[in-house]
């Protein structure tokens, strides 16, 4: 189920502005890869190119290649809608659909895929909520609005919604930055469980979090405001945090800037 991602010579643009330049990296399957770096360095932008959400923004486009198990996501005949069904995403702020019940939120992706069978939907809803460690908290109120849950529960609901369609890859854009420490811990535990089955890429501002949850870490940086962001280095998390190759990484990790 989990697939590897290979990015080569990726340039990312907003209109004529080059936001990120020359990213090449390999993201391992069944592992957690963390993107860290100062604000504005383009780590979220890179993340959004991995499921073609970048081009939702007017003027957003890329040059270069993103290969998912060898298949180029940006080839001419590839449908971005199909890509997003294969590569799921969880956002910074929990965004359950406010007009839907908890059940419908989880089933939303399946319904988009045309699944109508109620028994099958119920089965997937239960499985996904269990997968997101939320089942026990919400099983008695599946028909209540998803927006009535706490922030941490909402975020786990969003994770359940994302894994309900059984994606190959799960992208997380600062999934804990709007949550309290306890909810953050719950999400981090969940990430640890999910990596058995999915390729996970997580953007985080919290370096302790990157150290706790990830197997490899990518450090992004930019020379100055207005300059494109760049990938400085990608290595195993223990190497990045203990003995990074690049001076800039060491400075950032040790808190000398950023």
């Amino acid at each position: 189920m989990a697939k590897r991602i290979d990015v080569s010579d990726l340039d990312i643009f907003y209109g004529s502005f080059k936001a990120v330049e020359g990213v090449s990296m390999s993201i391992e399957p069944r592992a957690v890869t963390a993107f860290i770096g100062p604000s504005g360095c383009g780590k979220s932008t890179v993340l959004r190119t991995l499921n073609r959400m970048h081009e939702v923004i007017p003027g957003g486009r890329v040059e270069g290649k993103v290969l998912l198990d060898g298949q180029d996501l940006y080839a001419k005949d590839v449908d971005p809608v199909g890509v997003r069904r294969t590569v799921g995403m969880v956002f910074q702020r929990p965004n359950p659909f406010p007009t839907m019940t908890i059940r419908d939120n989880v089933a939303a992706g399946l319904k988009l895929n045309g699944v109508k069978n109620k028994a099958r939907l119920d089965e997937v809803v239960e499985k996904s909520l269990k997968g997101a460690n939320l089942w026990n908290e919400v099983k008695d109120r599946l028909d209540k609005p998803g927006a009535g849950l706490s922030g941490g529960q909402q975020q786990r609901l969003c994770i359940a919604r994302a894994i309900a369609v059984e994606p190959q890859v799960l992208l997380m854009d600062e999934p804990c930055s709007a949550l309290d420490p306890i909810s953050t811990l719950a999400i981090e535990d969940l990430i640890n469980e999910l990596k058995e089955r999915y390729t996970i890429v997580i953007v985080t501002h919290n370096m302790q979090q990157a150290a706790r949850v990830s197997d490899q870490t990518a450090f992004f940086n930019l020379k100055a405001t207005g300059q494109p962001g760049k990938l400085v280095e990608l290595d195993s998390t223990s190497k990045i945090f203990n003995n990074p190759t690049e001076k800039a990484t060491e400075d950032y990790i040790s808190g000398r800037f950023g």
Binding site: V81, N95, P96, P98, T101, A108, G109, A147
Partner: protein, 333 residues
């Protein structure tokens, strides 16, 4: 008009503010002055509505007491003399039928135009398109009436005749004494055009407020653009669209001049029919046409009684809208 405003229904991102009510007042002069002014303004509105209701009732009741026909079920209308006989059945039917036809046509088109402007039109086109629709709202209703009578009406003859012939067995499309195109059907079509701008403008407003996070949430699940609109934009905008439709309905129910010009009057004693292709008057056009008759309190009172029913009708429309919106509230945190 209706009391449903768009701001009531647009779900805020964090629900009810903890500072709602007067709990946030600091008791300083500025707070007290402004609070007092706001309370006063609110009281004025409530007072006005109450006074209008009292006025209508007090003027209508004496005439209603003398009425020798059933006010609700009679189709007669003779308000003078010692034995007045008048009822509002026909007025009610024409008003409701023309307004509902207008609503049925205008709501889907309004939603479609609003979606086009907010989600499909390229940037350079969306602003001009929006202003053009708004401009439609600025056209005086007498112009719509004239245009409907001279230009648009004759062009609807084909479809009207087609429906008369093919669906004439159905009571709503039955042939009547009105042979031409100046029917309730035409009034409904023109009213649809008249209420289109308000429905479009308000729908556009709420659709544009759909949080990006909801839209991205849908897209990230692999929704196509239309699926994204269905899962994120439409549910978010629904309460707003409902209030837009109710505002439009309010306008259609109360429209006077255009309807007066567009629908043929019927001779006294014409049989009542349910058909779209009948003539007649709405509450508003009947009252306007009867203005020359306001020479005795009894006659005036009869017309005011009709006005009272229109007043209550718009009240009911509002109440229904409120109920629909309240029910959805739990889901629009």
């Amino acid at each position: 008009m209706t009391g449903v405003s768009i701001a009531d229904k647009t779900p805020g991102s964090h629900g009810e503010s903890p500072l709602s009510g007067d709990g946030a007042s600091t008791g300083r002069l500025g707070d007290r002055l402004f609070g007092g002014a706001a309370i006063g303004a609110g009281a004025v509105v409530v007072g006005l509505v109450t006074l209008i209701g009292v006025f209508l009732l007090s003027q209508a009741i004496p005439s209603l007491m003398k009425n020798e026909a059933n006010f609700l079920t009679s189709t007669e209308w003779s308000v003078g003399g010692d034995h007045p006989r008048f009822g509002i059945l026909r007025l009610l039917w024409v008003t409701v039928l023309s307004s509902l036809l207008a609503l049925t046509i205008a709501v889907p088109i309004g939603i479609a135009v609003a979606l086009f402007i907010t989600n499909y039109a390229p940037k350079w086109l969306s602003k001009p398109a929006a202003s053009t629709v708004d401009l439609l709202a600025a056209v005086p209703s007498i112009i719509f009436g004239l245009w409907g009578l001279r230009v648009f009406g004759p062009r609807t003859e084909g479809i009207q005749n087609f429906l008369r012939e093919k669906a004439g067995w159905f009571p709503l499309f039955k042939e009547t004494t009105v042979g031409s195109f100046t029917t309730i059907f035409l009034a409904g079509l023109v009213l649809a055009i008249m209420i289109l701008p308000i429905i479009t403008a308000l729908s556009r407003e709420v659709f544009a407020q759909t949080p990006t996070t909801h839209k991205e949430g849908a897209l990230a699940l692999g929704a196509t653009k239309w699926e994204m609109i269905r899962t994120a934009v439409l549910p978010f905008g629904k309460p707003g669209v409902i209030s837009a439709a109710m505002l439009g309905l309010g306008r259609a129910l109360g429209e006077t001049v255009a309807v007066m010009i567009l629908i043929s009057s019927l001779a006294q004693g014409t049989d009542f029919s349910f058909s779209f292709f009948d003539g007649g008057e709405t509450f508003a056009s009947k009252i306007a046409l009867g203005a020359g008759e306001f020479d005795t309190p009894q006659k005036t009172g009869a017309y005011i009684a009709a006005g009272l029913v229109l007043f209550i009708l718009t009240f009911i429309v509002n109440a229904i809208a409120r109920i629909v919106i309240e029910r959805r509230k739990a889901f629009t945190e």
